[in-house]
Amino acid sequence: MRRLLPPLAVMALMAIFGFAVYSILGTLKSNKHLSTKPTQSQALVALPGRIVLVQAGNIYSLTNLTFTQIKAPAYDWVQVETGPPGEILAVADFGMYSNVYLLNYQGQVVRQLLSEGSSQYFSNHWAYYPRVSPGGSTLFYSWDWVDPGSAYNVDFQIQAVPFANPSARAVVWSLPGLYYQGGDVEPIPLANGGIIYAKYAVDSAAGPGDGSTYSQLVYASSPSANLVYLTSPGQNCAEPALSPSGTEIAMVCTTNTLQTTTLQVASWNGTSLGTPVVISSGPEPASPTWSPDGKSVLYLNTLLTDKSSPFQLWWVPKATSARPGVPQQVTTGLNFTATSPPVWTP
């Protein structure tokens, strides 16, 4: 029996070796695009104030270099937006509809602003991009309008309700230009009572190989006013962000054919945009927001050398329409939701 022990031990070692080879191969899998929770990570750059943004259905706050999770109810949070002092607007996706809430920084629901769920299938709605007017009196948002004559025809429109009484009848600020074209999103309420937003449309003159969908920034001084187009179809711009001074607009513009996306800043005089300056030339900048002092722009982007990587926080210091800065990567290894701009408060 003792004679058998050495060969048995060697055979056991061989089996362990084979299993080790199997296991080691498993560890060689590419985890390049696996993300960690922000609370297990630290920012690379300390930015002043507080930044709030969303990853994988949760809301996180970044102060200095440290992330903390805002312990909101266990919903699928998809967007955040600046609210009254000490509060944020947040959108939760419930699969068939989305609701808008007012949260404090501890994650407690101060009040539910919009309730879009229904037991009737076609009475469910989406509410996205909630924005409070500078005076705090009006809540603007994008809402899906369904054609009573064809349930296939669903487009976003911009509407507004009193912030103090959001269950009041909504005022419609925009109607999509044509059916089935995506509609109007990303309203930016202005101090003069008007709004800027992104309008999606289809270029009927598009030929083979061309992307035929585009977006334009438009300005409406009132719900019934004629629209002023701030960018051309060829510029294909969306995701506007107004600087705190109200004199500059950051926006994301995409050339359809090669899917090249740039972050641009243009001056804004209340009726038109100046010549835009590219402040980040790719690969996929998204969702810009201005710093509270208006001297820099925070946005989401992939790694510069890997456009297939998850979205990280990036920052362009001293970015103005006259003098673009050099983008700096703020986070690494995370995977932020890129469909709404981060909230940046002092």
Partner: protein, 376 residues
Amino acid sequence: MIAQITVPGRPGGDLAPGPSQVGRVQSGGMPAGTGPRRRRAGLKSHQSSFSWGRHRALVAALLVVGFGLSGVSGVVAYFLPAISAAFSITGHPTSGPAAGKHPISTPSAAPVTNSSQPFNVLLLGSDNDTKFQANHVLAQTMILVRVNPQAHTVVMFSIPRDLWVPIAGGGTAKIDSAYSDGGAADAVATVENNFGVAINYWVWIGLGGLVQLVNDLHGVNVVAQMPILDDEYPSDLTGANPYLQARIAILPGPQRLGGVAALEYVRSRHGDVLSDIARSQKQQQLLLDIKASAADASLADVPTIAGSLGSSVKTDMSITQVTSLLPLAKAYSDGQVTQVVMVGSPYFSGTTIGGQDVLLPNWSAIHGLVAQYFPG
């Protein structure tokens, strides 16, 4: 093992010592310089060492072979899903339920033998959900791909699924029914006959495979070119009732999508004025996005990806052909890929035939476009 310690470096004998012999040598050890006993012991040691040397070589060889086999077993076990999937995916005969009922049942173009020779692939995508019998799914995505290794160019040419054409299996119908009626054979033959393009290979992928592929890649980045709103999206990927509907909303702009959302993005068409045309554009875009994500995958990712694709992908290419073509995928950048989607006039016009919404082709315009991108 003990013998090696006891008699290091001595010429060996012919007996393999056991532990008792070792013990005897040890116990019989003499002070240096003693006479005959030393010689006798030395002789014994010489014979024994000879045996030990052979034994050690044998044991070492066995250990090397044993550990080698063990390591290889570990590698084979790790890549087994990939090997299994490779056999499952490749080498499918170009035939279908209707094979043999029409004259063309295999791709007319021969497999590529020269690595620099341009070749054409027909990509087929199907809603392989429970609404359909397993072998009778519609090819709702048809993309003709031309790869020119020498010029380093790729052309992706989408064929509208509602195009009203003569089907290789007989009759006239929407082109997506060719695969349903006659499998890859009819799909290939129908495209070849109508578009005048010789096809070297075909590849078919089901919806579940696409979802799993994107999930295995930890998501893909897309730039959604418009808000996608669809209140009547088919909720047929999972669940008992494939006729259920779902409401979906995909917001515009750059974003990262998981498998299900990526499928919703490329599959939805109700909320888009361009309908199937937009869907073709999004499908081409997603293919490029998947290629970009897949470029970061390592060899160790292959079993996971291949394992999940095993039942959702089929091709007539052999394993050797697939292996030789894979490096090409990494060699192309997006700028070398031309995406062609026919948008309405002059290529086709919409009408209704037999209660079906169809697209009537203008062949002279289409053939002009085909000749531009698929010369020869």
